[in-house]
């Protein structure tokens, strides 16, 4: 069905460059999420795929054909807009029928498709209502329904959950996920929320400043982020970054002297490393233990504690004034000003060079990557 590919797609508004060198392959059934901070170009990219913006550079292919100049209808795509874009003067039924009528579908066929979609989305009782009589969540579902009835080869979602309140957002997220499985649809989804990206997508494209920072599965992005940007973008609270210098290199990784005084060993592949290099050590809050149970230790004073019930977010100030955040047991009391020792395993740490590029971790997810890399290069030879 699907099989969409983007080759060197770029976008210029006059002289201003908004996107550059975007390459992506979308297979049938994929749930691709375009994620990144505001202004990174993700919505523009989506609109270019839809046909709402002209493609300045590169080629968009669908099932092998070059579709750069095709209209959205010809590309067989359907889009769900951020503010739903429901026609205010038409009933839900007519909203969903509009596109079908434009494509000259018969009345009965239209009715069948609408009833079917309405049942899946549980809006069959609302078909005669006007959009203004619906709640935000209901409008959202009508917008999705309007896309479903088109039976497109590709669904495009433009930040559809942004206008919903927190509780509704979680619920709708689940529904979209279920829909994806139910319809076996191919979806491209834009969001700025990394939680949405991680939970919904099987392929995530992290965009920054008009270029792709990394493409991969959620786990890949979490365990082997290619750059400092991706590492800090994925995961909440944000990964802790501690600056330092490489002191020693051995077979298993590097030892770093941190600017806060401590020493940390990180298990990474060391081809690119040299003693004396300025680097940053990354440690996620979930990998820090509240005591000295692991071998890499850090010392600091508690500056703030956020109590969430089953977990505490503890903010530590290190010797050089840097702040570290870690997760602590919600049942354990921690006092502000308390001197704390925290620790992490060398295998759980990340390392980034002075340009923000990541060193490959040797044990992402506790499995050695060297065998995999060897097998990969063998297959490519």
């Amino acid at each position: 069905m699907a099989n969409v590919s983007l080759h060197k797609i770029g976008k210029l508004y006059g002289k201003t460059r908004v996107l550059s060198d975007i390459n992506l392959t979308i297979d049938e059934g994929d749930f691709v999420v375009l994620v990144g901070p505001s202004g990174c170009g993700k919505s523009t990219l989506l609109r270019m795929m839809a046909g709402l913006e002209p493609i300045t550079e590169g080629e968009l292919q669908m099932e092998g054909e070059r579709v750069n100049h095709w209209t959205p209808s010809e590309r067989k795509i359907a889009m769900v807009f951020q503010s739903y874009a429901l026609y205010p003067h038409m009933s839900v039924y007519k909203n969903m029928a509009f596109g079908l009528k434009a494509n000259k579908l018969g009345k009965d066929a239209i009715a069948t498709r609408i009833q079917h979609a309405a049942r899946i989305l549980k809006i069959d009782a609302l078909l005669e209502r006007l959009p203004k009589e619906l709640s935000g969540g209901q409008r959202q579902r009508v917008a999705i329904g309007r896309a479903i009835v088109r039976e497109p080869r590709l669904f495009l979602f433009d930040e559809p959950l942004s206008n919903l309140d927190a509780a509704l957002r979680v619920q709708t997220r689940l529904e979209i996920s279920k829909l994806h499985q139910q319809l076996r649809a191919t979806i491209v989804y834009v969001t700025h929320d990394q939680v949405e990206a991680m939970t919904l997508g099987n392929k995530i494209v992290v965009l920054n400043d008009g270029a792709i920072a990394q493409t991969g599965s959620p786990l890949e992005l979490y365990q082997q982020p290619a750059t400092e940007f991706v590492a800090t973008f994925i995961g909440s609270p944000t990964m802790n970054l501690l600056p330092g210098q490489i002191k020693a290199i051995d077979a298993d990784g590097c030892t770093i002297v941190l600017s806060c005084g401590g020493e940390v060993t990180v298990n990474v592949l060391t081809e690119q490393a040299a003693v004396g290099d300025r680097v940053k050590v990354g440690i996620r809050s979930e990998h820090l233990a509240e005591d000295d149970s692991h071998d890499q230790r850090l010392y600091g004073k508690v500056s703030l504690v956020e109590h969430l019930g089953e977990v505490n977010f503890i903010y530590l100030t290190l010797a050089d004034g840097q702040e570290l955040v870690l997760r602590g047991d919600g049942n354990r009391a921690v006092a502000i000003g308390e001197e704390l020792v925290v620790s992490a395993r060398a295998a759980d740490c990340y390392l980034f060079d002075q340009h923000g590029q990541a060193f490959l971790r040797r044990y992402p997810g506790n499995m050695l990557i060297e065998p995999k890399l060897a097998a990969l290069s063998a297959s490519q030879a």
């Binding site: 100049h69 095709w70 209209t71 010809e74």
Partner: protein, 278 residues
């Protein structure tokens, strides 16, 4: 397959708009260029631009000699500006009174004002004239000012009230918490916030006043109180065959308006499109 998103190709759109624009501007253009030509040139080749040979200011000379053009201009200016001032001031005050304060009869007063938008003031001319006569105000600019103010108030009140309704309550409540007087709130907080609406109302009200023929004709036809509109009308009636003079007088009447318009056109359009008209 290349499809175009718009109603028609841009070239076609330009063609239609341009043709209508030519239609809109051509008559005015014709009058102005011919006002600068000699009489024979006007007749021989009306469509030609004035050349050094045909250029002539004889029409303008005649106009300035025979008619009190400057007086007329002054009259129009006084009437329009004073009326505008009264409309905006009293209109804003009334709009504020009606939109902000809930009191019995509020709806009725709104209705009475609204009536004035639908029903043309001219229908009451008979009584207005007799009122002016009894107040000894015939052939005065004051009469015109009073009538035009009454004419312009309903629309002004409605548009301004609409704008005022959109001002967030917090601003007013904060001021009241500070024990600011109602008059101060109106003058120092509300008025600055409704500036776009004031501009809109100013433009909407100004045009019918400046161009009106009916009331100057009926209430102030005396030669010292004629407005430019009436003045030109009479002048044309008197000197019908003196084409130069006639065209010159028309141009004189047109040019200031056109000039001012081009200066203020941005504000005007912004005012109308800012949703003041509901």
């Amino acid at each position: 397959m290349i499809r175009l998103r718009n109603l028609a190709r841009p070239a076609l759109v330009h063609a239609v708009l341009l043709s209508y624009t030519v239609l809109a501007l051509f008559p005015i253009f014709l009058v102005i260029i011919n006002s600068f030509k000699s009489k024979r040139a006007i007749f021989n080749d009306p469509l030609a631009l004035p050349t050094p040979a045909t250029f002539s200011l004889v029409g303008y000379e005649k106009v300035l000699q025979e008619s009190e053009v400057l007086t007329f201009f002054a009259n129009s200016l006084i009437v329009t500006l004073v009326s505008l001032l009264l409309i905006l001031t009293f209109g804003a005050m009334a709009a504020w009174g009606l939109s902000e304060y809930k009191f019995r009869g509020n709806r009725w007063l709104y209705f009475i004002m609204g009536f004035g938008i639908m029903v043309p003031i001219r229908l009451g001319t008979v009584s207005i004239l007799s009122t002016m006569v009894s107040l000894n105000l015939t052939n005065t600019l004051t009469a015109l000012i009073l009538v035009y103010t009454a004419q312009g108030l309903p629309l002004a009140v409605f548009i301004l009230a609409e704008f005022m309704n959109q001002i967030p309550k917090d601003l007013k409540e904060a001021a009241r918490c500070d024990s600011v007087s109602e008059y101060k709130i109106f003058a120092q907080i509300i008025v600055p916030l409704i500036r776009p609406a004031i501009a809109t109302v100013a433009v909407f009200s100004m045009i019918p006043i400046w161009n009106d023929l009916w009331f100057p004709l009926i209430l102030a036809p005396g030669s010292s109180t004629q407005t430019i509109t009436l003045g030109v009308q009479q002048f044309i009636g008197q000197y019908t065959t003196n084409w130069n003079a006639v065209l010159a007088s028309l141009s004189l009447a047109v040019l200031p308006v056109v000039g001012l318009y081009f200066v203020f056109s941005r504000q005007l359009i912004r005012g109308i499109t800012s949703g003041a008209v509901k």
